[in-house]
Amino acid sequence: MAYVDDAEHEELHEPTSFYAKYVWSQDHKVIAIQYSLTAIAVGLVALVLSGMMRMQIGFPGSIDMDSTGYYQAMTMHGMIMVIYLLTALFLGGFGNYLIPLMVGARDMVFPFVNMLSYWFYLVSVLVLIASFFVPGGPTGAGWTLYPPQAITAGTPGSEWGIILMLVSLIIFIIAATMGGLNYVTTVLQARTHGMTMFRLPLTVWGIFVATILALLAFPALFVSGIMMLLDQTIGTSFFMPEMMQFGTQLDHTGGSPILFQHLFWFFGHPEVYIVALPAFGLVSDLISVHARRSIFGYRMMVWAIVAIGVLSFVVWAHHMYVSGMNPYFGFFFATTTLVIAVPTALKVYNWVLTLWRGNIHLTVPMLFSLAFIVTFLVGGLTGLFLGNVVVDIPLSDTYFVVAHFHMVMGVAPILVVFGAIYHWYPKITGRMLHDGIGQLHFWITFLGTYLIYFPMHYLGFLGMPRRYYAYEDYQFIPDSAQSLNAFITVVAIAVGISQLLFLYNLVYSLFKGKPSGGNPWRANSLEWLTPDTPPKHGNWGESMPVVHRWAYDYGVPEAELDYVPQTISADQVPVHESDLDE
């Protein structure tokens, strides 16, 4: 704990100029907000793209979009949502804001690198957006960017679009690595007095393990990105096989597209958990606070997070059952995929058991958390279907898969993002978000996403293939499927537009919201105990907080209030038995 001793005695050099404070800021809270606003902005682009795609599917020809535009929208939608929105928001946004506050540090351990991380991220976003304006437009290769088609003429953006996409990803990975080094090191080195690893809120655990996954998995994307970039630009044949393009023999020989798939998914599957683990952590805290119950099975939850993290590295090829791989491999990956359901199910049980006999407050964050549990459950269960080779093969490349991954890693984490923003907004701004607008936003989003994605499972069973630009004149798709498509489009547009409610709420409440005070949810973890709200530079004022217990002492019989903040000593309120650390 040398770090914290030192932090107490060191002078705080609070930046004074506007630029140092809000632009070139090294303060984790400002960087978090920069990350979040950039991620939300680029996420809105992806949302609009999905609306355009839905219009084309539900009402073909209703907007001016050809098949090229459709594939480009599809690719950019997927890539932006997974990487530039969710990953950036969970790690760069929530990670940056919450880690130093929750562990009781003045800032991240490498503030300068942290600042660089944001600016690299911004550059990666700008490069990505620039690809909309280059000749040929952005790549339309699908978010998986499989070669050879990604860099072969005929695929939209196979010349400039794909280059910018790969360059953008490489810059993003550098940004994520710089951020990641900070998050992990801060958790390991900068915890305050008494803050042991097993007293950390689960949010920190989720982000911590997800960041380790990111540090080890993003290199796979980096490796494949570099090799594909070389295939495209200087004509190497890492991935490009010997092939004809429009009747012309290409110079490439012998490259292995399957190698790309392995590398991509060696990144791609952990990526699911890079997004999911922070969501697990955040939602655990939301549930515990808003149900006024200690989290059930804290240590089990921690080990489940770790186990999921480890297992996520040995399941990647379940994305490749139809690539013609050895059936024994398929068996292995099906088994590991099903095994990962065990710690995941354990977490779901623990959330439910935390709720059991809790004093549940149906606040907006709680509503989003409950919605997350059911949505994640639905998405996770269809994952068990798809994890089996024999079930996956007929369902592969159908809308069943689209429904599955949107439920499990699209909607579910986004519900947590919303819940977490409603929960921590008071700490960030000092004002509450408007509750009525929040409730409305919740119900439209929650019910809407079910209306969108539930029917897609059935479309998948009918064999409706994903990634198609138009579904006319396929005999195996009944006409009724088209009415369902139109229905989904109407709902999707409505849900998309309703997100304006959320944006309006963010801006409105910033100025007109009810003042929140320091701890409006009566929560225990350190971020609610800062001397100022919003926390000032250096977070803790003169002295660093001292931690005496875990973050989950709710409904403690001996306590005056129904919660015991982490800084209350054992003399004042006995440390509860469930605090296993004592």
Binding site: Y3, A7, V109, T185, Q189, F222, G254, L259
Partner: protein
């Protein structure tokens, strides 16, 4: 590393040094883990790709890597750099008697020598028509040595900081600058050992025979 406090000019303020040192070391270890992950995945790709029939291994007797003198010289240079850093690290506690500065310069110059040596070998290959686009084995050679070189260049930036901090420490002789210089040198030392290890692994693999690749591929379940 602080054991020889008696021979230090002024005792370092422990908490400050420990804090920076522990965080920086953890950060470096994480960075090395991420870099290792990257090289490991490249090496697996290398093995897998080497099993396709168009692969013309550079290590065949008639190919350029049959003669590895230049690469051995480069290896020796990197080894010297690594050892020099180690010596600098050991000497840093005795700024008045030791040769930290000289060792640090030796480390920097021999690393530069390594980079130049690698470029000389690149030139040798391209002069003989071994271009990245002409065969995947060549492409991998340029890619892997190039990426390793970039990591050495990154290290050179850290070396510059270390050299600067050391001269500052020699000038000021206050505890803060001494411990900062020391930390920089320690970090560089760890990183250079890592760079040497990665290079030796790359060198061993790049100069292995196709039979070895086939055996590794078979062992990993990637071969036929």
């Amino acid at each position: 590393m602080l054991v020889q406090a008696s021979s230090m000019p002024i005792e370092a303020p422990k908490s400050h040094f420990q804090r920076r040192s522990a965080s920086a070391k953890t950060g470096l270890h994480l960075l090395m883990a991420a870099i290792s992950s990257m090289f490991l995945l490249f090496l697996l790709s290398y093995i897998l790709r080497s099993q396709v029939s168009d692969w013309e291994a550079l290590s065949e007797p008639w190919q350029p890597l049959a003669k590895t003198t230049q690469l051995w010289i480069n290896t020796a240079l990197l080894l010297v750099a690594s050892v020099a850093f180690e010596m600098a690290r050991r000497d840093v506690d005795r700024p008045t008697q030791g040769n930290t500065r000289e060792f640090l310069w030796l480390a920097g110059l021999s690393s530069l020598g390594f980079l130049i040596g690698q470029l000389v070998f690149w030139q040798y290959l391209t002069d003989r028509g071994y271009l990245a686009s002409s065969n995947p084995a060549n492409a991998f050679f340029f890619l892997l040595t190039g990426l390793h070189g970039l990591h050495v260049i990154g290290g050179m930036c850290a070396w510059m900081i270390a050299t600067y901090r050391l001269s500052l420490a020699a000038h000021k002789l206050d505890s803060k600058s001494v411990s900062l210089a020391k930390l920089s040198i320690e970090l560089c030392t760890t990183y250079w050992h890592f760079l040497l290890f990665v290079w030796m692994l790359l060198f061993a693999l790049l100069s292995s025979s196709p039979g070895t690749y086939a055996a590794i591929a078979k062992f990993c379940g990637l071969g036929e």
